[in-house]
């Protein structure tokens, strides 16, 4: 370990780890690394979006009927909650840029709060679907208004898979936020080094963007059609 810290012009600090030459290089590399990770997430969700695209184009009517069974008001409100959380998250990052420790914690807690609300609402929605027998695994599954129960199950399989995967990412995000709050309280972050807050912000915003697409694709399919 001693020889690890040995001469390269600088000992290792959080802002400047030994493999980097400057703090700017480290910050730049970290940001680039997070963006590349987010691209892998785009492809990860992308597989499900591909399945969705194909099945919606194959069964447009059933998908519309199934979509109409979702509560659009709750969905829209939840979308707004998540957008709010993105706002509070970028405010936390901004506080990091300005080195305002207390503000970082304040906005991170708000973000956490909104995130938990989102997850709570999702849990409620899922419970509703279960009670309405719209869960594909259920023996009593039935979607009213159509004979094509198979494709109806497809819609809901995709609904649960996609919102489930999204929710899992939110839960990870909640964990990250908690970690960040604790670290900020320890005084880890400053104007010189707030990278974890910055890149966690990128992650949180990405999860928000996924939902920005999930909402219209799942909740707003041909809503204009008469019931």
């Amino acid at each position: 370990m001693a020889s690890e810290a040995h001469a390269h012009g600088h000992g290792e600090t959080l802002a400047l780890r030994e493999q980097f030459d400057t703090a700017y290089q480290q910050r730049d590399a970290s940001t680039l690394g997070m963006w590349i990770f987010l691209i892998t997430e785009v492809m990860f969700f992308g597989g499900m979006f591909a399945a969705y695209t194909i099945y919606r184009s194959a069964y447009p009517t059933v998908f519309a009927i199934a979509s109409a069974s979702l509560n659009v008001t709750i969905g829209a409100i939840n979308t707004c909650v998540l957008l709010l959380s993105s706002f509070t998250m970028v405010m936390a990052v901004r506080a990091g840029q300005l080195g305002q420790r207390k503000l970082i914690i304040f906005f991170l807690i708000l973000t956490l709060f909104f995130g938990c609300i989102f997850l709570g609402v999702k849990a409620y929605e899922w419970t509703e679907k279960y009670e309405e027998h719209h869960m594909p695994g259920q023996a009593a599954f039935h979607l009213e208004g159509t004979d094509l129960q198979g494709p109806a199950k497809l819609f809901f399989s995709l609904y649960f898979a996609m919102t489930g995967l999204h929710a899992m990412h939110m839960v990870v995000g909640v964990g990250i936020l908690t970690f960040l709050i604790l670290e900020t309280r320890k005084g880890r972050y400053s104007t010189e080094y707030y990278t974890p807050v910055d890149i966690s912000g990128l992650y949180w915003h990405f999860v928000d963007v996924v939902w920005i697409f999930l909402f219209p694709l799942l909740y707003l399919i041909d809503r204009h059609l008469p019931k």
Binding site: A23, Y24, R27, D28, T31, L32, W35, I36, L38, I39, V42, M43, G46, G47, F49, A50, T53, I54, S57, A58, V72, A76, T79, C80, L83, L84, S86, F87, M89, V90, M91, R94, Q97, L98, T191, E192, G201, L202, H205, F206, D208, V209, I212, F213, F215, P216, L217, L220, I221, D222, R223, H224
Partner: protein, 103 residues
């Protein structure tokens, strides 16, 4: 040593304006869904979603100030998603064109 010079710190007003726009677009997309636009509905919905995505990316994710490489990475990722969707769809959309069963 202060942090590097290209650090852009947006104002609270900027972020708040973006938030309000995003919320408004959410309301709009929800309401427009109930208007009969036929096949155009999905185009409008996606257009709004893409706009919201751009706002989040440019302002909240600071892509406005990012390096060219970051933007290349983002564009590349979206392009690859498009390749996945379009080439896979090319199969499903052209089935049955030949007229022989099972092809």
């Amino acid at each position: 040593m202060s942090s590097q010079t290209s650090e852009h710190i947006d104002s609270v007003k900027t972020y708040a304006a973006v938030l309000v726009t995003l919320l408004a677009l959410t309301v709009i997309t929800t309401l427009v869904a109930f208007v009969d636009l036929g096949n155009f509905s999905v185009v409008v919905a996606l257009a709004i979603a893409v706009t919201k995505m751009l706002l989040v990316a440019l302002f909240f994710m600071h892509v406005r100030y990012s390096t060219k490489l970051t933007r290349l990475v983002i564009v590349g990722g979206l392009l690859w998603l498009a390749i996945l969707l379009l080439l896979t769809l090319s199969d499903f959309f052209t089935r049955g064109w030949l007229g022989t069963p099972g092809r």
